[in-house]
Amino acid sequence: MRQQVAVAAKVFIQRDYTNGTMCQFQTKFPSDLETKIDKQQFEETIRTLNNLYAEAEKLSSQSFIEGCLACLTAYTVFLCMETHYEKVLKKIAKYIQEQNEKVYAPRGLLLTDPIERGLRVIEITIYEDRSFSR
């Protein structure tokens, strides 16, 4: 059950509801990460994620047309086509994976895709630095 590396702590970035129920995360830099990662880098990641989620939920003409088409075809069109939201979620998953590989894993951190936590939190796992422990 325990992975090869020990989990030292988990930090949770909560949702930011100041603009309503849209999916946005707080950009406040948590104190636990101060020694691990640059504040700018962290805020950049969160801001990009926020922009991606805003794009997914944006009420654009494209989403409107998609909604109307779906209604007219009794929603059977989604058997062949992905919704706009799902397409953006895939983009987000790719972005998170890329960030993990380039930025977070070298620092002993791991970002969990918020969709796996019901879009409630961004979970950042801090792994123990084994070379210095015990």
């Binding site: 509801y17 603009n19 309503g20 997914a56 939920e57 009794a74 936590r117 879009l119």
Partner: protein
Amino acid sequence: MKNCEYQQIDPRALSVSPQSAQNHADKKLQRPRRKWQVFPGKNRFFCDGRLILARQNGILPLTLGLIIVTSGLFFAFDCPFLVTHLTVFIPVIGGVLFMFVVASLLRTSFTDPGILPRATADEAADIERQIDTSGSSTYRPPPRTKEILINQQVVKLKYCFTCKMFRPPRTSHCSLCDNCVERFDHHCPWVGNCVGKRNYRYFYSFIISLSFLTSFIFGCVITHITLRSQAGKNIVQAIQESPASVVELVICFFSIWSILGLSGFHTYLVASNLTTNEDIKGSWSSKRGAEESGNPYSYNNIITNCCVTLCGPMPPSLIDRRGFLPPDEVISVAAASEVELPPFIPKSEANMCTQSTKDALERMLHSTDLHGLCPSGTPKTTPMVLEVLSAPETKELSLSSGCSHQLARQAVVDPCPPFSKNNRRDSLHSINPAFRLASPSPTLSRSVLVLGEGPDIVFSPQQH
């Protein structure tokens, strides 16, 4: 209601060969499980997790039945007459409306309304840390709220004790389904599901199309009877010739009032971007005179509000019903879910019960440092622990609860406090095989177990 049938586990068998039991447990869990099989809410799943329904869906067959019967009578008895006397488009329109109504209804019933998955143990612990609990000894701490600003308006977020998280705005916990649902509108018994963010548009299209259908059938039946009675006969004779029409008339007449009223009400809600929940509670109307200016979610434009609610992007289901459980989480989830949560799946319940009890017993066997009562690790379980600990001292010990007293002495929270009346369940009895039970009681359903493992999995008594 489904009940989990626990198999009796002979504690002596376990003590003899814990190793083989462990291997057996491992082998059994090789088969990957889907997440819907361990879903904690009161829902039913069909088609291997593709379709979701509330457990209490008693009236959905009635709704479907009424619609199908009324439409069937219409097509069988009224349409032939109307086709010959009026136009062939009448059954065509009726058919299209009927298909649309049934499709919307099924869509509303079987779609995930926007259920929020419950917080993981780590998240819940993190939230607890942020809230100052100061080790209170009351059974349940006062309801926790958090105030936030949305569009310059103060909104209170409540903490959900079941889902262990602060509910996002407009989210409400449905007690019938035991889930937090986003943009919770109401739980509709006619549809057999909650109506929330993801299926509100289907619900709306259902009631609108049903209004059209009932009005259409009503109008056609009136026309039918009028035409018959005009051809030289009186009304009574006309009715005698087509008795089914009267049935349809009665059903449609009573439905129209309620359905049209409901459609009108929901059109108003859609136009002002409110939910039934908010409207009933008067969340925004008490602030100022006009609801639109009080509602922080409204765009103050009817068209925009309608578009956002009905034609907005379709959010995905957050509960990932068909995903596979990662193998290392299966043990903990299976163990936690079976004892803590109400039974919810038709398949492999017995397997899970046996497995989870075996796993739980395994853990107790192997954990020598008993973190069971560690207050620092599990502040949230303090009320449960206190409740259980007081029980063995005060209540009479029977054979069935013999373990509780002895185990309490061992500073391990016992699994079988003697208070319950559910007689369909067997529960864990001996954690330590040193305590031989003569005859495990079949009547205990509540159990509290705190496992001495890192993740601090907590079993809590059922809330019924």
